[in-house]
């Protein structure tokens, strides 16, 4: 039997040989070598913005199709008055055709002259464009017969960058994306490594457990730069969404948001043994924020009673801060409240996650 092997000195390290560097590199490689992860992180939110952007695009007031029955006297005067209205698409039809067009929704309103001095409007008053058409047609006919309006009205139509729906939407989608990619990115890989007994293998080495958990959050940060630059850049390029605040503030907001969701992701992934169980908990924790935190519509639509709860959610803080920065150019001082909420989420979740973490 050989004697005890002599213990030598500790081996000196280069910067690449520190565990936190290697652990973070491993996380990073696991991500970019997974094509699906790349798709969900980068392509998916862009498709979503494009889809919603098209659906809610700002467009000129729509032209409403209406029909005029031409069987009786007085038709030609009415036709002249109505054809001047740019918001109406007028066609003259027989009574029976008119009724059919109205019934099948091809026209919103049917104008039926009853004699030279009177008309009847036939329409469904639950259809908003029919109600609009009724008002326009009424005005046009009355003015055509010489009515004068006592109040002179001028119009100044406003479509400012920054106040359109797409401007509201892009920061919200960015916030939601930072949440989803942090939580899924961390949650899935942690649970998968637990399932494969890799965590068990790691804890039998001298690896530092806080560093292992921190590596997930750190790896998210390097991806965060790409993610934010990509989405904000595409938003500006494709949809002309403004970035009025400082990029530094935008960076700090995104960073703290990612840290907060990183902590939450670790907390959710701290116990489950299967990916299925983790998915359920992920969705359970994210669902309230999808609904309440103002991704697609303003969170102020919800009752005052639950506003304190909504305002304390990390995604509300992140979305509000992103919008304030991008749309209103808010600086650190105005964002302090939101930044504080996100920092609090990180400080609350990370230590608990470390404490209750299941390593085997």
């Amino acid at each position: 039997m050989a004697d005890a092997r002599p213990r030598g000195e500790d081996t000196p390290r280069t910067w690449r040989e520190y565990p936190i560097v290697q652990l973070t590199l491993a996380r990073y490689r696991e991500f970019y070598r997974e094509p699906e992860a790349m798709f969900w992180t980068f392509v998916f939110p862009l498709l979503m913005a494009a889809g919603l952007g098209v659906a809610f695009r700002s467009r000129p007031p729509e032209v409403i199709p209406i029909a005029l029955v031409q069987e009786l006297a007085g038709t030609s005067a009415a036709a002249t008055a109505l054809s001047k209205e740019r918001q109406l698409d007028l066609r003259t039809v027989s009574d029976s055709t008119g009724r059919r067009l109205l019934r099948t929704g091809k026209v919103a309103l049917l104008v039926v002259p009853t004699d030279s001095q009177a008309v009847e409007f036939r329409f469904d008053n639950t259809r908003p464009e029919a109600v609009t058409a009724r008002r326009i047609v009424d005005d046009a006919l009355q003015r055509g017969r010489g009515r004068t309006d006592p109040v002179a009205v001028g119009e100044d139509i406003v479509t400012d960058r920054g106040s359109r729906y797409i401007d509201f939407l892009v920061p919200g989608l960015l916030g939601m994306n930072l949440m989803s990619s942090s939580m899924w990115g961390i949650g899935f890989s942690v649970v998968d490594q637990r399932r494969k007994r890799l965590l068990k293998r790691f804890v039998a080495t001298p690896m530092s457990r806080p560093q292992y958990l921190a590596s997930f959050v750190l790896a998210r940060l390097s991806l965060l730069v790409i993610e934010v630059a990509f989405l904000v850049g595409m938003g500006a390029l494709v949809f002309d969404v403004p970035v009025r605040g400082s990029l530094l503030a935008l960076g700090v907001v995104s960073l703290l948001g990612t840290l907060a969701f990183g902590g939450l992701g670790l907390l959710v992934a701290a116990r489950p043994k299967t990916v299925e169980a983790a998915s359920g908990m992920m969705n359970f924790s994210m669902l309230p924020m999808w609904v309440l935190s103002g991704v697609f519509f303003s969170s102020s639509n919800f009752p005052d009673a639950i506003q304190p709860f909504i305002q304390a959610l990390p995604l509300t803080a992140l979305n509000d801060a992103l919008r304030a920065n991008m749309l209103e150019g808010a600086g650190f001082l105005q964002l302090a409240g939101e930044l504080g909420i996100m920092a609090a989420w990180l400080l609350a979740t990370f230590p608990i996650a470390l404490k209750i973490f299941r390593w085997q």
Binding site: M1, D3, R7, R13, L23, E30, R201, T205
Partner: protein, 314 residues
């Protein structure tokens, strides 16, 4: 923490170890001492308590009772120091498939204070050609060698290898044996579990046969085989009419008899004296031999002798 060479502490000392999982007493009082530089085998069927024992030694499982001292250290007081000095391979770890061989080793490399150069470790486990291959593309044998590399990279004094060759083809097993023999030649201590008898005989200086959470035999492979009192084994199977074991023990050269169903196993000192007598006896009893083989006694025969069961039967 370095032990004086004049008073070498054992690499591993286990006293009165017990562990229960619900109704199952997985480890029922195990005592073992493994000397430095020794290759020690824990041998037994699945569920015998080998893995539980080794995971307690690795600090992954807590014992209900008993003491474990590793290189003179205990997990209670020196967990971090022990983790620096042991290298392990678990039974069912799947390393991350997306990383390459080199990246995986570099990751484990970074965890240890004292480290062996990565290139040296890759060469030692003969994965030089697979250095840049993803783990997901490796064969079973290559994955196991990578697992050993992850243990070797911390320059451990003591290896715990839990069934490192289970499920591998014969050639891969041979390669792994050569590696482990190499670790031993470097003065490292190895504790290995296996249910392959030939593996234990090939690798181990000493073997503990474990069954139902207890050590039922302990010694060098040669000593254990000598327990049979004979160096040869005659196995036969009968068609139809069976004979009683007591009739067979009286045959010349027979030192032990065991039977399961219609299959018999005789521990025999001199095969050439036993076989004619056996054939004559069976003929007189009008029993028909369906099968007859002889081989040199192995640890498998020791296990059968001790428990009346084959290892694979569990």
């Amino acid at each position: 923490m370095t032990a004086s060479p004049a008073l070498p502490l054992p690499a591993l000392a286990i006293r009165g170890l017990q562990k229960r999982y619900g109704p199952v007493q997985a480890v029922a009082g195990i005592d073992l001492t493994v000397a430095r530089g020794e290759c020690f085998g824990l041998l037994g069927p699945n569920g015998a308590g080998k893995t539980t024992t080794i995971e307690i030694c690795e600090g992954l499982t807590e014992a209900d009772a008993g003491e474990v001292s590793i290189l003179g250290l205990t997990h209670r007081e020196h967990a971090a120091e022990i983790r620096e000095r042991i290298g392990i391979s678990l039974q069912e770890t799947q390393l991350t498939e997306k990383l390459t061989v080199e990246e995986t080793i570099a990751l484990f490399h970074s965890f240890y204070r004292r480290r062996r150069p990565i290139a040296e470790v890759i060469a030692a486990v003969q994965l030089g050609e697979k250095r840049t291959a993803r783990v997901g593309q490796l064969s079973g044998g290559q994955k196991q060698r990578l697992a050993l590399a992850c243990a070797l990279v911390g320059d451990p004094d003591l290896f715990f290898l839990d069934e490192p060759t289970t499920g591998l083809d014969p050639q891969s097993r041979r390669q792994l044996w050569d590696l482990i023999t190499g670790f031993k030649a470097e003065g490292r201590t190895i504790v290995i579990t296996t249910h392959y008898m030939d593996e234990a005989e090939h690798l181990c200086d000493r073997v503990a046969i474990v069954d139902h959470g207890k050590v039922i035999a302990l010694g060098t492979p040669r000593q254990l085989i000598a327990m049979l009192g004979s160096e040869h084994v005659v196995e036969f199977a009968l068609d139809g009419l069976l004979v009683d074991e007591s009739e067979l023990i009286g045959l010349p050269g027979v030192t032990g008899v065991s039977r399961s169903d219609h299959r018999y196993q005789l521990d025999v000192t001199h095969v050439h004296r036993t076989i004619p007598a056996l054939l004559a006896h069976l003929k007189a009893r009008q029993s028909v031999i369906a099968e007859l083989t002889t081989h040199t006694a192995t640890l498998e025969d020791v296990f059968v002798h001790l428990t009346g069961r084959h290892l694979r039967d569990g």
